[in-house]
């Protein structure tokens, strides 16, 4: 039990990136997009191709969410709310697609 004299728990925001850092992050995202498009024209095993594209997609997604949407610097409550939505969507629809055998081409 806490009393009114105890200091309340306050989640302070951390400093956001500077304008130059935002530009650098955008350039990084552009390079990753370029790499994705480049891979499209490379002849390789489908599984390896899909795996690399999946990793690059997650990298881009996380970069935008953490730096542009400030989830890295903001309250943990926002992080929980959003991550719950994303995780729920991934789990639910992976199960749906597995049910229909989408990943082995037997729809």
């Amino acid at each position: 039990m806490t009393t009114a004299t105890e200091a309340p728990h306050v989640e302070h925001e951390h400093a956001h990136p500077s304008d130059l850092q935002y530009v650098m992050i955008a350039m990084f995202l552009a390079v990753v997009t370029g790499a994705e498009v480049g891979l499209y024209y490379v002849n390789m095993d489908f599984l390896v191709y899909a795996l690399i594209l999946g990793v690059l997609m997650v990298v881009k997604f996380s970069t935008v969410v953490m730096f542009f949407m400030h989830l890295r610097f903001d309250s943990r409550l926002f992080r929980w709310v959003f991550v719950t939505g994303v995780t729920l969507a991934v789990i639910v629809y992976t199960i749906v697609l597995l049910t229909f055998h989408v990943f082995n081409g037997r729809v």
């Binding site: 105890e6 935002y22 995202l29 959003f82």
Partner: protein
Amino acid sequence: MSTVEERTPPVGQHQLGHHEAKPGEHGWTQTGVSNEKLGMWVFLGSECLLFGGLISTYMLYKHTAVQGPRPHDLYDIPFTSVSSFVLLMSSMTMVLALAALQRGDHHRCRVWLVTTALLGATFISGQVYEFTSFVKEGMGYTTNTASSAFYTLTGFHGVHVSIGIIMLMSLFVMSLRGRLPQERSEIVEIVGLYWHFVDIVWIVIFTVVYLIP
């Protein structure tokens, strides 16, 4: 058990150096974060399920076309890559608009807001061009199940971008009328969250729908 007096004000108020809101005062919330911002994050969390459903439906139907061309027979990857790049850059200009307003630089904020809206409009123009060329090549909305799933998914995303453009232009007009002071930068932040979400949805669509055959 905590008392009402121990609750904290929204995080944004600390950043702007305001005094800490007490219970009953404007800006005080029980969670210690802004209700409006929390509302937007909850909305975006639910949107993940909407777009997850649309993407899954496309994946389910993309190989089931029995007549007419399928979407992945018609994709123009270089063109869509440029569109993706444009939308990605609009996320950068959006965050620069917010940073400018937080510094109190209203002129630069307006410039970045309009730039973001223009980049969004460029993306939408590209989508209209893509849809038109697909229809000309014989893939209409009802041609087959794959085309229906494709148009529904990308169309829903396009509508989200269009709504974002309307919100950005509303912010621009508010700023011109002097109704967007530095202290209310959270409005730009909330619209920015929506805009970045539209961008991350496209990141997934571009990879899953366009690049993976």
